[in-house]
C-alpha cells in the first residue's frame, strides 16, 4: 500500500463529513472515489493532502505515519493534488505556475542568484516545466500566457502539470474532467493512462463514472461520509447499495 487511511474522521460542527473511512491505494494503481454530491469526497482529499486537519484516524504514506502533518510537508513527501474549483496562480505565467510546482524538488537559489552568472541549474527545471506543459496538452508556445487567461479546461490541465512537476508518489485529481468537453476528457483519460504506465499512483475523484470505470483498477464509494463500497469497477456497477445511493430505492422508482 502506498497510501492507507485508517478510521479517518472529520466533523464540521454537528456534521460528520468523513466518518471512519479506511482506504488503501496500491502502488502504481488508480483508485477511483465516487459518491453523490456532499458525500465527503473533497473533504477526504483535503484530509489526505493536509489542507484541513483530521479529527481522528491515521494516514500512512509508504508505511510511515503522516497524520497531522501540514500540507507543505505532505507535498514534500510526495502527495500532489489538483483542486475541484481550479486554483491556478492566475496572475502568474503558465511556466511560473509549473515552476512553483517544483518548489520542493529545487534547492533555493536565492543566494546563488546574487552573483550574476550564466544560468544552468534553473534551466533544467525550466526544461522540465516546458515539457510538462507540452505533455498535458497546453503547449509550450503558451508558456508565457497568464494562467488566468487560459480557457477553463486548460487551467485544469495546468493544475495537473503543476502537480506533476513535484514528481509525486501519489497524484490526487479532484474532479479533473469537470467542465471538459468529450474530446478534452478523452485526452485526460489518455494522460491518466500514460501516467499509470509510468508507475504513478493516482486517487481520482470524478463524477464522470465512465472515466472512473475505464481508468481505475479499484473504486471506493462514499455516501454521507461513510465508505459504502470498495471493489473492482465491475462489482461496483452491480452493487445494489451503490445503486441505491445514486438513484434512490427501487420502491420509489
Amino acid at each position: 500500500m502506498l497510501l492507507e487511511t485508517v478510521g479517518l474522521t472529520k466533523r464540521f460542527g454537528g456534521v460528520t463529513a468523513v466518518d471512519r473511512v479506511d482506504l488503501g491505494i496500491v502502488q502504481g494503481r488508480a483508485l477511483g472515489l465516487i459518491g453523490p454530491n456532499g458525500a465527503g469526497k473533497t473533504t477526504l482529499v483535503n484530509l489526505i493532502s493536509g489542507v484541513v486537519p483530521a479529527d481522528g484516524g491515521t494516514i500512512r504514506l509508504s508505511g510511515s505515519d503522516v497524520s497531522g502533518l501540514p500540507a507543505h510537508r505532505l507535498a514534500a513527501l510526495g502527495i500532489a493534488r489538483t483542486f475541484q474549483g481550479v486554483r491556478v496562480f492566475r496572475g502568474l505565467t503558465v511556466e511560473d505556475n509549473v515552476l512553483i510546482g517544483r518548489h520542493t524538488r529545487t534547492r533555493s537559489d536565492a543566494l546563488a542568484r546574487l552573483i550574476p552568472r550564466p544560468r544552468s541549474a534553473i534551466d533544467a527545471d525550466r526544461a522540465r516545466a516546458l515539457s510538462l506543459i507540452d505533455r498535458v496538452g497546453i503547449g509550450r508556445r503558451r508558456a508565457e500566457v497568464l494562467a488566468g487567461e487560459l480557457p477553463y479546461g486548460d487551467q485544469r490541465r495546468l493544475e495537473i502539470a503543476r502537480a506533476l512537476a513535484s514528481e509525486p508518489l501519489l497524484l490526487i485529481l479532484d474532479e479533473p474532467a469537470a467542465g471538459m468537453n468529450p474530446t478534452e476528457s478523452a485526452g485526460l483519460r489518455a494522460l491518466i493512462g500514460s501516467l499509470l504506465v509510468e508507475g504513478l499512483t493516482i486517487l481520482l475523484i470524478e463524477h464522470d463514472v465512465r472515466l472512473v470505470m475505464d481508468t481505475c483498477q479499484r473504486v471506493a464509494v462514499l455516501n454521507f461520509g461513510r465508505k459504502i463500497a470498495d471493489a473492482v469497477p465491475a462489482e461496483i456497477q452491480r452493487d445494489p447499495v451503490v445503486r441505491e445511493a445514486y438513484l434512490g430505492t427501487e420502491a420509489v422508482a
Partner: protein, 290 residues
Amino acid sequence: MDAVSDFLRTYSTTIAVIGVNALLALSVWLTLYAGQLTLGNAAFMGVGAYVSALLGRHLDTPFPVALLIGSVAAAALALPLGSIVFRLRGVYLAIATLAFGEIVRVVLLATPITGRGQGLNGIPPKTELWHIYLSVLVVAYVLWRVQGSTIGRAWAAIREDEIASASQGIAVGRHKLAAFVIGALIAGWAGGLSAHVTFSIDPSDFGFTKAVQVLVFAVVGGTPNVLGPILGAGLLTALPELLRPLKDYRDIFQGAILLLVIIYLPRGLVTFVDVRRTRRLSRIGALDVA
C-alpha cells in the same frame, strides 16, 4: 560642475530623505509582494534610529557597527512579532502591525534613555549621501535577484493563493515571516541612516503618519518590481519641493496627482511602461498583483 554642486548643497536634505524613503518603501515592498499588508516598518525604522544613535552616543560604537546593530535589533523584534501576527490576514494584519507601532512609540515616549518626548538631539551627522544611495543600490539589487529566485516565486504564489501554495510544498508561514524580517532589517538600516542625517529624532517621527506614508510610496510607485517603491518614494518626496511655486495650492495639486496615478495606473507608476499587462491582469481579475 558648479551648478551640480550648488544643486546638491541646496537640496542635500531632500536628496537624503528621498534615499531613506526609497529604502523604507523597499522594506514594505517585500511583504506587499508576498501579498501581506503590514504597517510596522515605521516602528522598525524607529528601532534602528534609536539603537544606532544611542550606541554611538553612550558606547562610542563605530558608525557602521551601530547601523548594523540597530538594523539587527529591528529584525530581532520582527521575528517574534511576525510569528504572532501572521496568524492574521488582510486588514486585521495591518491593524495588528499598526498597534505594534503604537506600542513602540509609547515605549519610546516613556523611557528615560530615549529622551522621552523630547527624543534625542545632537546626533552627529555621520551619514553621507553616498552611504544612503549605495544602500538603496545594494538593497534594490538583492531584492531584484531574490524576486526571480525560488523564494521570490514562492512569495508570488502565496500572494496568489495560499492554499494552493501550501499544496505545492511551500511553507507559507515561514516565507511570510522571512519577508517581514528582511523588511524590518532594511527599515532598521534606513532608520539608522536617517537619524544621522537629521540631527534629532523623536517618537513622533516613527508613528502612524510615517507608517502610512511608507505604504503609499510603495503602492503609488507600484509593487511588480523593485523600481516601483524607489520611483514612488522619489516622486512623493520631491513633489512638495517641485510644487513649491504653487504656494497655497500645493496640497491640492499634490492630492490631485496622487488620485490620477491611482486611477489611471492602479498597479503603480512603474507600470506606465506595461499598460498592456495591466489590462490583461485586470481582465482576469488579478488587478493588484505583479
